[in-house]
Amino acid sequence: MLNKDLMAATIRPAVLAVLAQRESYGYEIIKEVRVLSNEQVEWAEGALYPMLHRMERHGLIESYWRTADNGRKRKYYRLNNSGQKELDNQKAQWKVATALLNKVWGPEPCLT
């Protein structure tokens, strides 16, 4: 399970990456992140929304309300060009960080 600090750092690029694949709403985003992390990301899901609102305020994503076939209204988010650039930037930074840690820690021991 990820600790609080690591999760805070990871969740933002993860959400951007999910939105880069397709537009989505809060519940679906969380569900996807949970599945992709093998249930390792556990948090108060309602805390996702301030982050989405912040990203929207910073111009990285856009939102709109859509009514589903059953009449349920959901707020959808989609990535825009600034968000895509931010995601690319985050990817580049994480690559540097993971490459560094891989070098420091060395390859995983393999017995086979």
Binding site: Y25, G26, Y27, I30, A44, E45, G46, A47, Y49, P50, M51, H53, R54, R57, A68, N70, G71, R72, K73, R74, K75
Partner: protein, 245 residues
């Protein structure tokens, strides 16, 4: 017997009454809660247990407040002030006529915004240049009036500050003292010189006393007029929300 509508209303109440959540954010959270509830309900979990599990997953208002408060603080000052007064209004019981509370609040804001700077400027001038005030008047006049001066300053401040639920905090204790002082002052004035005040001052002093009373009045309405947190108007389940439940 578990009632989903009531359960949602209970869960939603603290969000509705808080200044940190816009109606749009609450709608998003409610939609998320229903989606999670349906996820558990479809798995065959009992309705009440499914709702409890969904609550656990989304987080209580107390847990979510930390992040939502950060986001609220980063919005503009005007938006924060507006959301604070909007939340204050929601505390009022629906039994209380909302329009006269609105009038009292607008009056207290207008008078508070007018008098607080005036009293501050006058106080600074009085302290720094007392001669300006003592040329034509007996110096004891202002000294005798200083408690009222302080009371007026406090009233201006309290008339501006929006109230929250009675929480026995230091600000509530200050308000209790302030209310007692205001009621005492007004009662004393009414007893000895009600007609004199109205006639000799052309109603000005009377208006001051009305203004003094506005802050405590609004506060007392807040404390004693608190609404039932499961009022039916908190329930806004969207059409089709319960179809799969």
């Amino acid at each position: 017997m578990f009632n989903l509508e009531n359960a949602i209303a209970q869960w939603k109440a603290p969000f509705v009454l808080s200044r940190y959540y816009s109606s749009e954010t609450i709608a998003e959270l409610e939609s998320h809660l229903l989606d999670t509830y349906r996820e558990f309900a479809v798995e065959g979990i009992e309705r009440e247990d499914a709702f409890e599990a969904a609550l656990q997953r989304i987080g209580s208002e107390k847990v979510l407040r930390v992040e939502h408060k950060k986001e609220w603080k980063s919005t503009s000052l005007l938006a924060r002030i507006f959301s604070t007064y909007r939340a204050e209004r929601k505390w009022i019981s629906s039994d209380v006529k909302r329009w006269w509370y609105g009038v009292a609040r607008l009056g207290s804001l207008g008078l508070g915004l007018w008098w607080l700077p005036a009293i501050l400027v006058s106080s600074v001038t009085l302290i720094t240049s007392p001669r300006n005030y003592l040329l034509d008047w007996d110096q004891w006049y202002y000294l005798q009036g200083s408690p009222l001066w302080i009371l007026l300053g406090f009233s201006s401040l309290f008339n501006l500050i929006p109230f929250k639920e009675w929480s026995r905090s230091w600000s509530d204790i200050l308000r209790v003292i302030h209310t007692a002082l205001v009621v005492g002052t007004v009662a004393f004035n009414v007893r000895i010189a009600f007609w004199v005040v109205i006639v000799s001052n052309g109603g000005e002093a009377f208006m001051w006393e009305v203004w003094l009373c506005l802050g405590p009045f609004l506060w007392l309405v807040q404390v004693f007029g608190k609404r039932n947190v499961v009022d039916s108007d908190y329930v806004s389940i969207q059409p089709g929300a319960l179809e799969m439940a």
